[in-house]
């Protein structure tokens, strides 16, 4: 068993139960892979070796006694550095939190801890999840394992790259406007954005509170079904989580997709998009048809307005959420000035990076007296139009199939100087975010040797159907089994 790091979560689970290897060996395999390649990929901000081995040994003890039923027991996971982890540095890739050690766990982290997971460390991101390339990290950019000259996508780029490079068995990310789906596509792995409210966000640093969601990356959709079961559900500490039944995802995905109605929205096949991307999506549609699904042409007419609405709503909520970083309660505090105002101004000037400052200022402007109706209220009305498009479409279809991004992973530095160009990368992921839908990225092939994913969008709280379509697709394709050459 020299290639343990290549196993999927479910394979690792089976091997642990059959005593083919131990959790300590799985953990060693991950750290060995990290030590070999992470100086090139740069996916981790903080490694958690000491605690990870303690967790692994505790898991091995339990496995020996046969006293835990959790499939996550003893399996190593990488966590985006925006989830608070008790006694483990949590930075959000921001200099303002460079030395912040939270005294508590995010609810999802607590759930994984109780399930016996092994925490390998904390992964890189665009500062406070603002960005789509992980270049906005306050520390260093992450590189795409498929081509180190290229971005892994973002904002959850560290978690996606670490998984693609077999440095962990699954990882956690957050998705506000595409931050799980886009990096999953760029890195050739599967990733799930849950419906708004499906998974508790308690202890995950807020960016755009009316849109933020969290979710897992997996080597397979089958793995994601297992993980989601442990993350989903109502949390008294997060009042945006409704009491909606959590499905038995691992059972649901086994059902075939005969008769499933899949919509193909014409607005997502635009001029200027990469031909390889378009072809992979259309080939996937054909594959779904062969599997017995019915593919139907649909229209989501307000698609082209979604990005503009998002870049009012997101910065507005950002400007409010970032107000908590004041140099008083926690984080960086610059106290060389003459008064309280200087503490605010200096701490924030030195702690925040360029993109965070940009969004704070756009939001401050959009919410300032006299502009609220023209910007924020207008954007919320357009959000309604986008949401209604989907509601109409779902009267006709069960799932919507689209590309994830207009093109595959681009080169580091290519778009960083032009924020607007960067924002337009999110054109296919943002509309579903505004509507609070769930979305799954599944690898669907390559264009010029770079991975391309498809996006499957489901109704709110209907994760089971997109997971089912994704898993059934992976039963008849092997794109998800392809690995980068590091």
């Amino acid at each position: 068993m020299s290639e343990l790091h290549k196993l999927t979560l479910l394979q690792a689970f089976t091997g642990l139960r059959n005593k083919e290897f131990t959790s300590r060996e799985l953990t060693e395999a991950c750290f060995s892979q990290i030590k070999k390649f992470d100086d090139q990929v740069k996916s981790f901000i903080t490694l958690n070796e000491k605690e990870a081995y303690e967790q692994a040994d505790a898991a091995d003890e339990k496995l020996k006694n046969g006293d835990s039923a959790s499939p996550l027991l003893g399996i190593p996971v990488a966590i985006k550095d925006i989830f608070c982890t008790k006694d483990l540095k949590t930075t959000s890739a921001s200099k303002i939190l460079e030395n912040y050690i939270p005294p508590f766990d995010a609810t999802t982290v607590e759930k994984l801890r109780e399930a016996g997971a092994v925490f390998l460390g904390k992964t890189n991101l665009d500062e406070f999840a603002m960005g789509g390339s992980t270049e906005n990290s306050g520390f260093f950019p992450t590189h795409n394992p498929w081509d180190l000259q290229r971005v892994p996508g973002g904002s959850s780029g560290g978690s996606a790259a670490a998984l693609a490079a077999d440095m962990c068995f699954y990882s956690l990310g957050t998705d506000t406007g595409g931050s799980i789906r886009e990096p999953a596509s760029f890195c050739g792995i599967s990733g799930l954005k849950v419906s708004y409210g499906r998974v508790s966000r308690y202890g995950v640093m807020a960016m755009t509170s009316s849109l933020d969601t969290i979710g897992p990356f997996g080597k397979t959709v089958e793995d994601i079904a297992v993980i989601l079961k442990y993350m989903a559900g109502q949390d008294p500490k997060d009042s945006t989580t409704p009491d909606v039944v959590v499905d038995d995802y691992s059972a649901e995905i086994m059902k075939d997709i005969r008769g499933l109605k899949i919509g193909l929205p014409k607005e997502y096949f635009v001029e200027g998009m990469d031909e390889g991307v378009r072809d992979r999506v259309l080939e996937a549609a054909k594959k779904f048809e062969e599997m017995g699904a019915e593919v139907i042409d649909i229209s989501l007419p307000h698609t082209d307005l979604a990005v503009a609405a998002y870049y009012v709503i997101c910065p507005s909520e950002v400007s409010s959420n970032m107000a908590r970083f004041d140099g008083i309660k926690y984080g960086l505090s610059k106290r060389d000035g003459k008064d309280l105002l200087d503490i605010y101004l200096d701490s924030r000037a030195q702690g925040f990076g360029a993109e965070v400052k940009r969004r704070i200022m756009i939001g401050t402007y959009a919410l300032s007296a006299g502009y609220y109706d023209a910007y924020y209220n207008k954007a919320m009305q357009v959000r309604t139009l986008v949401r209604q498009d989907f509601e109409e479409a779902y009267k006709q279809v069960d799932v919507i199939l689209t590309p994830v991004a207009p093109a595959p992973a681009y080169k580091l530095g290519e778009k960083i100087g032009d924020p607007l160009k960067m924002y337009l990368e999110d054109v296919f992921t943002i509309p579903a975010s505004l509507a609070g839908l769930c979305g799954l990225t599944v690898p669907a092939g390559f264009t010029e040797s770079l991975p391309v994913g498809i996006q499957l969008l489901g109704k709110r709280f209907d994760e089971k159907t997109i997971l089912r379509a994704g898993h059934q697709f992976q039963l008849v394709t092997d794109y998800h089994k392809q690995k980068p050459q590091l």
């Binding site: 008294p236 503009a308 609405a309 008083i328 000037a349 207008k378 924020p419």
Partner: protein, 97 residues
């Protein structure tokens, strides 16, 4: 629309950000570009369209009014750059007369 340095400065002050001269220059261009783009929304007819501020459909989520000990109040206060006796220390903002 082009934001002037003065406008950028005003926004930055509202947002409690101190900007360098280079930043003011850079942001006045970039922010103007972004605002021009989101300006496209003004062409959309939204008469009688209700705004969507959230999608949960939930309202007024309240729990029983009971004290629940976090058990970590000392640790939370200790996260502050300055703390003493279980309190966060802040600079004086009133002058003695």
């Amino acid at each position: 629309m082009k934001l002037s340095h003065k406008e950028v400065e005003h926004i930055a002050t509202l947002a409690r950000l101190r900007l360098t001269e280079e930043e003011k220059e850079k942001y006045s261009g970039q922010l103007s570009g972004i605002l021009d783009y989101v300006e496209t929304l003004s062409a959309v007819d939204t008469t009688d369209v209700e705004p969507t501020s959230q999608v949960t459909g939930l309202t007024n989520i309240a729990r029983a009014d009971q004290v629940i000990e976090s058990g970590i109040s000392e640790e939370l206060v200790a996260c502050a750059p300055k703390s003493a006796d279980g309190y966060v220390v802040v600079p004086k903002i009133f002058e003695n007369k």
